[in-house]
């Protein structure tokens, strides 16, 4: 297993955002994590990337509430749940965050370079940059532009490109479809599929179930802070209870 999440529970003060969540991602998978708003999908990715623990350290001694994190997270067989985010990144696990979050005052090229911060081999950086430009040609034509002025879709491409520059083994993408037009969305998902086909394992968080299932190899459904179902898109769509309770789809579409 490339990533194993074992019995992870996260509480912000008294609010339980993740309740005994376990999941596994195998090398080469394109795993989708779906579920309604507030189910804990983003929190799970943030926990995996080390940001929840980092936030907890920052809060220490302040009046902001306590955060507790329990459980184990293993990446490539080694525990990473106590590592700071930058060391987790160094091991090849990268987060492409919710709301894209480019470094707004930096140019497109500088954003991509920031992704390559840990890569020492200049040739490797140049190669990856070419790969990213080939994947998203619009980034090449806007390389000098300040990233804050890009459109939403371009910012999402930049965020994914920046994550790719880190040379990840596992790419976690949080809600890439947010605020994008359907056409842009479809294009983007085709690109995500291309990325997965190059051998990078992808963990995709998405609210649009059909879109997610259209490219994923396997899925988890998260609801009310728990994992409630797991399986391929086909299996999950066949399950009437899952359809009705968690996917918000009509009871039967003849599937």
């Amino acid at each position: 297993m490339l990533l194993e999440v074992r019995n992870v529970t996260v509480c912000y003060d008294t609010a339980m955002l993740l309740n005994d969540v376990s999941l596994e991602v195998a090398e080469g998978e394109l795993l989708a994590l779906v579920g309604p708003n507030g189910a804990g999908k983003t929190t799970l990715l943030r926990t995996i990337a080390g940001l929840v623990r980092w936030e907890r350290e920052l809060r220490r001694g302040t009046r902001a509430g306590n955060i507790t994190v329990e459980g184990e997270i293993l990446f490539d067989g080694e525990r990473i749940d106590r590592l700071p985010p930058h060391e987790i990144a160094a091991r090849g696990l990268v987060l492409c965050p919710e709301r894209r979050r480019p470094f707004r005052e930096l140019s497109v090229l500088d954003n991509l370079r920031a992704g390559a911060y840990l890569v020492r081999d200049r040739r490797k950086v140049a190669e990856t940059l070419e790969m990213v430009y080939a994947l998203f040609p619009v980034l090449k034509s806007r390389s000098g532009q300040v990233s804050g002025t890009l459109s939403g879709g371009e910012q999402q491409m930049l965020a994914i490109g920046r994550a790719l520059m880190t040379q990840p083994r596992l790419l976690c993408i949080d809600e890439p479809s947010t605020g994008l037009a359907p056409r842009v969305c479809r294009e983007l998902f085709a690109k995500i599929k291309e990325i997965a086909e190059t051998g990078i394992t992808v963990l995709l968080v998405e609210q649009d179930v059909r879109l997610a299932f259209s490219l994923s190899t396997r899925n988890y459904i998260l609801s009310h802070s728990r994992v409630v179902a797991e399986g391929t898109g086909e299996e999950l769509l066949k399950d009437e209870k899952v359809r009705r309770s968690y996917l918000g789809l009509a009871a039967s579409a003849g599937a």
Binding site: A49, G50, L51, W54, L58, R59, R60, G61, T62, P84, P85, H86, A89, A90, V94, L95, P97, R101, F103, R104, E105, L106, D110, R113, A114, G115, Y117, L118, R162, T166
Partner: protein
């Protein structure tokens, strides 16, 4: 005389820029509003005074030693006092004021409350385009210009600079990209202190030195940071130019203008806060969640 005024304005611009860039970077990267920032500038002034007049060292080694002292004092006090408290904003503010006051009192004890002056490194004057300018002013201007260019190259052309700029934009995502935020913060404090050190060391021969000289530039730096947008590099540079130029205009054109210097920059600050609180380039603060 006209030349000196012109060069003086340029020097002020550069000095304000050096102070404001450091102040702004520290806020952006370390989330630190360092009210002791100009106390480092004062410390550099006293160090160079000490090395030149008491130890009899030449100008250049004195400047370098002063910068070194300032950087060491800044990094040690950051690591020992501020970093452990860094998410408690009010505590940090009070701590930095305390640090400034401690430095002020130490200078008072060591050197007394007298007006001190640092001898010029160069004497005489040069004539440029028919305008007479003292050599000391030219030297200062040169050092200021070289320092600013060096910092600009460091920030824009190196990996360290990229990490500093990225962290200033989004600390969390910079971490996710593999940049260690606490290391970047410490380096930023060192760079900011070095800038304040250069500023203090080079202007010391132009002005009078006394233990309270850190206060007036602090209000100016705050005004520049607010005007440019706290945390923005471009903003602090542009803010420094605007404040320094308009300050010179006020001083030279308005009768008794020099009395309005402080009031002018504070006035700008109040206006900006009323009209556009995020400043010229400030980002409306996005919640880091």
């Amino acid at each position: 005389m006209v030349g000196d005024i012109l060069v003086n304005t340029l020097i002020n611009t550069g000095v304000y820029a050096m102070l404001a860039v450091g102040f702004s970077l520290m806020f952006g990267v370390a989330r630190l509003i360092n009210l002791a920032h100009t106390a480092f500038y004062m410390l550099a002034g006293y160090s160079i005074f000490f090395f030149i007049t008491r130890m009899g060292l030449p100008w250049l080694p004195s400047v370098l030693l002063s910068i070194l002292i300032v950087v060491v004092v800044a990094v040690v006090s950051y690591k020992a006092l501020i970093d452990p408290m860094r998410e408690r904003e009010t505590t940090v503010l009070i701590l930095t004021i305390a640090l400034a006051l401690v430095l002020q009192e130490v200078m008072l004890i060591l050197f007394g409350g007298y007006f001190r002056s640092v001898p010029s490194a160069l004497s005489g004057y040069s004539t440029i385009l028919g305008v007479r300018v003292t050599n000391q002013y030219l030297l200062t201007l040169g050092v200021v210009a070289v320092t600013l260019v060096a910092v600009w190259l460091l920030l824009m052309r190196t990996k360290l600079g990229l990490a500093i700029r990225a962290t200033a934009q989004d600390r969390e995502i910079a971490n996710v990209m593999g940049m260690c935020d606490s290391r970047t913060a410490t380096v930023t404090v060192a760079i900011a202190a070095a800038l304040a050190g250069v500023a203090g060391a080079v202007v010391a021969p132009l002005y009078i030195l006394e233990p309270r000289i850190w206060l007036p530039p602090l209000t100016i730096v705050l005004a520049i940071a607010v005007l440019g947008g706290l945390g923005s590099l471009k903003g602090s540079l542009l803010g420094a130019v605007i404040i320094a130029l308009s300050e010179s205009l006020v001083v030279f054109l308005v009768p008794q203008g020099s009395f309005f210097k402080g009031a002018f920059s504070l006035g700008v600050m109040i206006l900006v806060l009323l009209i556009r609180p995020e400043g010229l380039y400030g980002v409306a603060f996005e919640e880091e969640r």
